[in-house]
Amino acid sequence: MSAHWSAWLLAATVGLPLAMLLACIWRRIRERMLPLLAVAPVPALAAALVAADAPPFVLGQGRVRLTLALDFPGSILLGVAALLWIVAGAYASTYMRGMPNRGRFAACWLMAAAGCLGAFVAADMVGLYLLLALLTLGACGMVMHEETPQAWRSSAVYLGLALAGEALLLLGMVMLAHATPGGSLLIRDASAVLPSLPQRDVILALLVVGLGLKAGLVPLHVWMPLAHAAAPAPASAVLSGAVVKVGLIALGRFLPFEAALPEWGLALTAAGLFAAFYGVAIGVTQAHPKAVLAYSTVSQMGLIVAVLGMGLSAKETDAPLAAAYYASHHVLVKGALFLAVGVYAATGARHAWPILVPVTVLALSLGGLPLTGGALAKYAVKGPLGEGLAGVLANVSAAGTTLLMLHFVHRLRRSAPGEPGATAPVGLLLPWALIAAACIAVPWGMYLSVPGGTVANPLAPKALWAALRPVLAGAAIAFALDRWGGGRLPRVPQGDIAVAIDAAVRVAPKWGGRLERADEVLRQWPAASLALLVLVIAFGAAMWAR
């Protein structure tokens, strides 16, 4: 085991939430755990600041070892994710106060936190799988917390799809582990050997589908609007903000960026850009503000996957870093917007504007409003996206994002506010203000701290105008839709393609009934003993054929 102190920080990233989770076994501690939730991600934040590219933390001897390590893109995402978990934890302790089952919620929260933060630092495949499984269980528990019929349905869809994705991911990992020389289970080694394998395409397909399910790539996104809308506000914030990024960072680590894979790059880029527009198209038909935000996440995840895809086809090893920078901005903004939904619901109409103005700024920053972190993020991914069709489409998608975000603000305003004259409690306002400020401060801070990055570039009039154009276009379309489109948009159910799952669930009992009747027939004595004799003959024949 490495004795370097930064390695111990990495261990504490997973260790502290896990230890708090184990303490939740005792009911008295569990009931009081809620205020302590904000403490659990602190080692993760510290690790993100100091442990990037540090020696890894290794547990165990023999062939199977648990390894925790942090690369630079991972450290960016870990830092903002830890910040979001801390802020959302503080928010949750006020939001959930007095609600039933808060002990259970705290336990699920800690499970999800351990899994999410741990997955950012997991460097070997088995550890990653373990943490993903933990994350799925915790997130599912949070989604079903309110126990409404919608929450049950959402958590069932989420759990089913997540387990299916993990099953495919497991198969891909086993195939990779089998082919890696020396039996190493490190993701880094597997990714290095991947381009030269004969089953490369199968493995890549399994990894993309499995991790794409986690990241919400269309058409594997159907669980996201259901889950993120059904969960309580702080849970939605971390789910949409931090949890989906786990799939992204894992994808960024598995994909072999040193080898040029043009077909896969093209496929990922196409899928990502399709998702970017699809999320906007379905999102504007949604009425619930949380559902709109969820579809915006679908759209943004698509864009980030497109960045990774362009990097894969152009052999750009910088693509994961650009994607991580873009994703980190999205972590903060989406978290802040989900928390704002809860704050708005507790605020009276008179005090609504001090909430709505920052919300609008944050929402527009997602579309790339100049001088915000969003503009910096879009500027950063211009490089990998290039000047061709992908770059143009990405610019257009910025307009779509602006449209969607204005739709969100519109739906938020229309949603029921709190009692007139009420203000949200400090326990909700303070964390929200903190993360809202971080949305501007952190991207600028990261940009300014990178040596060689000049401030002049993003502030040049040409760059400002290029960033402003899509925002104005999106605002114009939003205005037009509001004026003349009105109620003419189709009603798309939350979770769009998920209705296919509902249809399958309706058909399944019929087949289950048939199997059960077949089983009953086989369990009659004459059938079973005849089957025994038939098997004797069958085995004899099978052994005869050599």
Binding site: E520, R523, W525, S529
Partner: protein, 116 residues
């Protein structure tokens, strides 16, 4: 010597076949127990034939299968005894002895199974 072994071998095969047929087809448990014994006896006759065929010169039969055969007879006997004891007890408790698979327990409208 070969003729006797072959004859008894065919007899054993016939016994096993008859026993298996009755075991599969006849619904009464007592007949199944008797059929199991017939199959068992067929296997033991086969064992005896093999003992006869594998005998060394001057000996009537290979002693190892005879020892195993006796053990098998004891095992079959205790198996039949256990089966008949269960059958008698079933008859006492249920009034009739049949192996028919239980019909699924009737469920009344409020969801209570009859044998809860």
């Amino acid at each position: 010597m070969t003729d006797a072994a072959t004859l008894f071998g065919l007899l054993a095969a016939a016994l096993v076949g008859i026993g298996l047929y009755a075991l599969i087809v006849d619904p009464q448990p007592l007949r199944k127990i008797v059929a199991f014994n017939v199959v068992g006896n067929g296997v033991f006759v086969l064992f005896g034939a093999i003992a006869h065929r594998g005998a060394g010169s001057g000996w009537g039969g290979d002693p190892v299968p005879q020892a195993l055969l006796i053990t098998g007879l004891v095992v079959a006997f205790s198996a039949s005894a256990l089966a008949i004891a269960l059958l008698l007890r079933l008859h006492d408790v249920a009034g009739s002895a049949t192996l028919a698979t239980d019909a699924p327990a009737p469920v009344s409208p409020d969801g209570n199974a009859a044998d809860a």
